[in-house]
Structures are given as structure tokens and as C-alpha cells.
Symmetry: C2
Subunit: 237 residues, 2 copies
DNA sequence: CCCTTTTCGTGATTCTGGTCACAGGGTCAG
DNA sequence: CTGACCCTGTGACCAGAATCACGAAAAGGG
């Protein structure tokens, strides 16, 4: 039975950018049908929390539209953003599979829509459709890799400038915008700081410095990369 | 057919410390038998490399005895140790499942024995025994969590002292030694530095400082935690 | 057991980036 | 339009860690 409102998972997969790795795309029709029955769709405003670090895992969210930031906070109040999730991403899978509390907080940074699948329904679904378990393993593997990259960024670079350069280059490679040398800046300096493990002030200063050194150029909220080679050189120094 | 030398996976699981989460333990007999047929066992000396960052994934290693350090290195030569693997741990699973190059280097830090399973054999095995795929997902989830903890350590703490305290407390919680307040130091200061993202000299100085402040006491290679409360206070400050 | 190699301890020096402080600019609601 | 609020830019200051540089201590190998 098709959900009466919004995009179904099926629809979403048909319309979403061709990312074959998506957890629930390209499945047998029978599995997709079951999925449509066990999922529920909701729309979330900006700043909505899908789940919060430490909560018992209720289930997984599949982002249809909008973006969410995944972050974790220390007792001292310091925060790290581990990932910016986009349409198609599966959130909370690790906690749900291992039945441990959500290890991060997922907060919408722009309004969007997400499908929710409860833990029980997901586990039951996986038992019924063994082929999907492999998809889950692959998705976990990708999530692992993302966090692993975070360790490399935080552990192998000694200067914030290096990390900012790395972040910008990473953004310029994502095919979100036509021109690979243009990046739409949708995060605040504060959030960028939380991604690269530094302070807001330092991010501000770094942008100033990068502009002065002609590495980048800022037009409104669009960042243009003027000297990609120089940025790359900063990264693997 | 049982391998003629050393411990088989079956033996190993029967004799290894009761860790139910081990990937290949507590499986149906049929699956275990197949495993014994597809695995090969070898003994590695200290400093032997099981695999190296960037290599195409040949398969997974299951450590039977000994320990290995997993590390990754930047172009600039800086190194981070992401994990110290012990008996029972599965190494290279992520790379093997996702068919991406090994993301870390695995080097034995004490002599030991490991079972190797080629990628092809493993994938075939997983297709035959669907229930093991769930185990793989669980293992990947644990690996994810380990690296995630690394991000928290590197990203949420601002001082090396905090990170060292966290590391020592983590060691004191592993049940490798009888008394939870005694830790056998088996890593060099250099390696400890690579685990907490600082320099060798800083680690030396921190140990001196901790001793002077009566937080710990050193007897040969055994570290005794004198003031656990104070260390814990440093961590979640 | 001696000699080589690795690991450890510690001083002196430099300098980056965190912290505090404040002012200007944008945005949004009423 | 206007205030409240959040985001940005920049200056001044300084603690804390990286770096360099040694010599001492320990481990390992023949």
C-alpha cells in the first residue's frame, strides 16, 4: 500500500540523483513494497532534531530532501560535527543495528522530509529479506569510512588552515553544484569550526587570509576557488 | 578438514576469552566446518605487516594470539594509530567487504598467529551462510564505533593531558590484567603519542607530571593508577 | 657481555591558535 | 521602520605545545 502523501521511498529512489549505493534502492519489488508499508514519512522544519545523542535507538531515518548535521558533544560543551547528511542518506543505522544509544545528534539544517522505519520493523524486514542485510553491511562500511576520514582530518593535520583547505576541496568535489570550483557556503563559520576542530574566530581569520592570498574569492554565499593547486599543496604538506 | 598446525578457528574460539561478539564464534557447526576449510593460518613475528594502507584488499585476518597496531599515515609522514587489535579481533573486514583499499596498516607489535581468509572465499561463504552476514554487519558496527570514539577523542579534547588521561582510563577498564588499576605499558611513548595526537616529548612530560601529581605510579613496565577520580575529572572537564 | 640501536627524560626557545572583547552588518518579526 | 538577535571581522594577549637539541637509560643482538 502506497503512503498517501509525499514521496514514497520508491518514488524518492526514482527521482533522487543516481546514487546506486543507496540503501533501499534497486531492491526487488517485493522488498520495496514491504518497505513502503513499514515506513512513515514526516516533514521537519529547520533545527528539528531527528534524534539526540544518547537516546535509545528508535529506528532509522532516510533523508528524502533537505540536509541534516550529525554532531556529538562533550561534557564540557564542545561540539564536533561529524557529517552533513544529504538526500538519500540513512541516519541512525549503526545505533539501530547494534542496539546502542544514538552516538550522534541529527539536526536538520534546512527543512526537509524523511522516512522513518522503526527498529523492530527494520530488523524483521532484514530477516525476511536476507539480500538487504548485505546492503546494510555496505552502508555501515561507508559510514565507517566517513568517520575514519574524520580521524585522518583531525589526527593527521596540525594546522587549522590545512583542515579548512581540505574541507573546501572536499566540498568542491561533491557534484552538488555545476562548476566544481564553486561552493555554496551554507554553514556558519561556527559550524565550519566544529567540522575542522577549531574556533569560529580562527575560521574567520582563515577565510580572510585565503582571500588575501588569492586562494579563494567570495561572492555572496558562493565561494569560488581561485587557486586549487595551492590549496591542494597545503593539504598534503 | 582441519589445518594440521596451530589452532583452528574452532579451537581458538573455544579457548579465547569469552567474547561472544567474536565474528566467527558460536556459529552452526556446518558454517564452522566451512570456515576451517577456507582459512589458512600463519605465524607472524614482531613488526610483521599483515597488510598496508592502500593495498587492494586480499581478505581478512583473524588474530588468534599476539597484538597488532592499526595505523594510518599522511603524505607528510605523520602517523595516527587508530586501534590496538588483540586476540579475536577481525582485521581488514571493512576494506574487504566494500572492496576498497585497506584504509590502515596492520603491523604486529608482538609475535602472534592469525587466520587469513581470502576475499573471494569470504564473500562466497557469506552468500552460503546468510546468518553470518548479520555477524559481519555487527562487527562493522563495532569497528565504526571504535573509530567514532577516536573522533571524539581527537575532536572534543583540547589538551594532550586530557587525552592521555582518557587513554589510561580506557586501558584500566580492559580486563587484560587482574587488577583494574594496574596497566601493563606495552607501547612506546612514541606510539602513545600517535594514539592521542601529540608528540613523543609531550607524552614523556605528561607522565612525569602525572607521577609528580601522584595520579599514577610507575613500577617497571606496570603503571598503577593512584588517583582514578582525578584522572576522570580531567577527562570530562 | 659488550656494543649498537632504540627509547626516554628534560631544558630552552618559538610561535601558533585559543580566549576575551567589541564593533559592524545581516536578517527577521512585529 | 526598528529593535533584537545572530553572524561576522579583527585586534590584543598569552598559555601551551611543537620543535630542536642533547645526554642518559634501556633493550636487543651477536
Amino acid at each position: 500500500m502506497r503512503a498517501p502523501y509525499g514521496l514514497s521511498i520508491l518514488d524518492n529512489c526514482l527521482t533522487c540523483p543516481a546514487r546506486e549505493e543507496h540503501l533501499f534502492c534497486h531492491l526487488p519489488v517485493a522488498a520495496l513494497q514491504t518497505l513502503n508499508e513499514i515506513k512513515s514519512t514526516a516533514i521537519y522544519p529547520k533545527s528539528a532534531m531527528l534524534f539526540i545523542e544518547g537516546q535509545l535507538p528508535r529506528g532509522v531515518f532516510v533523508l528524502c530532501t533537505g540536509r541534516a548535521k550529525l554532531s556529538t558533544t562533550s561534557a564540557g560543551g564542545k561540539t564536533v560535527i561529524t557529517r552533513i547528511a544529504e538526500a538519500g542518506d540513512v541516519l541512525g543505522l549503526n545505533a539501530t543495528i547494534s542496539n546502542r544509544p544514538y552516538e550522534v545528534t541529527a539536526e536538520m539544517i534546512e527543512p526537509g522530509q524523511a522516512n522513518f522505519i522503526t527498529r523492530d520493523a527494520l530488523l524483521h524486514f532484514l530477516r525476511e529479506h536476507g539480500e538487504v542485510a548485505v546492503r546494510v553491511a555496505e552502508q555501515l562500511s561507508r559510514d565507517y569510512y566517513t568517520v575514519y576520514e574524520g580521524v585522518r582530518t583531525l589526527g593527521l593535520t596540525n594546522s587549522p588552515s590545512e583542515r579548512l583547505a581540505k574541507l573546501l576541496l572536499g566540498w568542491s568535489n561533491t557534484p552538488r553544484n555545476g562548476d566544481p570550483l564553486q561552493v555554496k557556503l551554507t554553514l556558519t563559520h561556527e559550524e565550519i569550526a566544529e567540522m575542522i576542530g577549531t574556533t569560529r574566530e580562527t575560521v574567520s581569520r582563515l577565510f580572510s587570509e585565503f582571500k588575501k592570498r588569492q586562494l579563494v574569492q567570495l561572492k555572496g554565499a558562493t565561494l569560488m576557488i581561485r587557486n586549487k593547486a595551492a590549496l591542494e599543496k597545503m593539504v598534503n604538506s
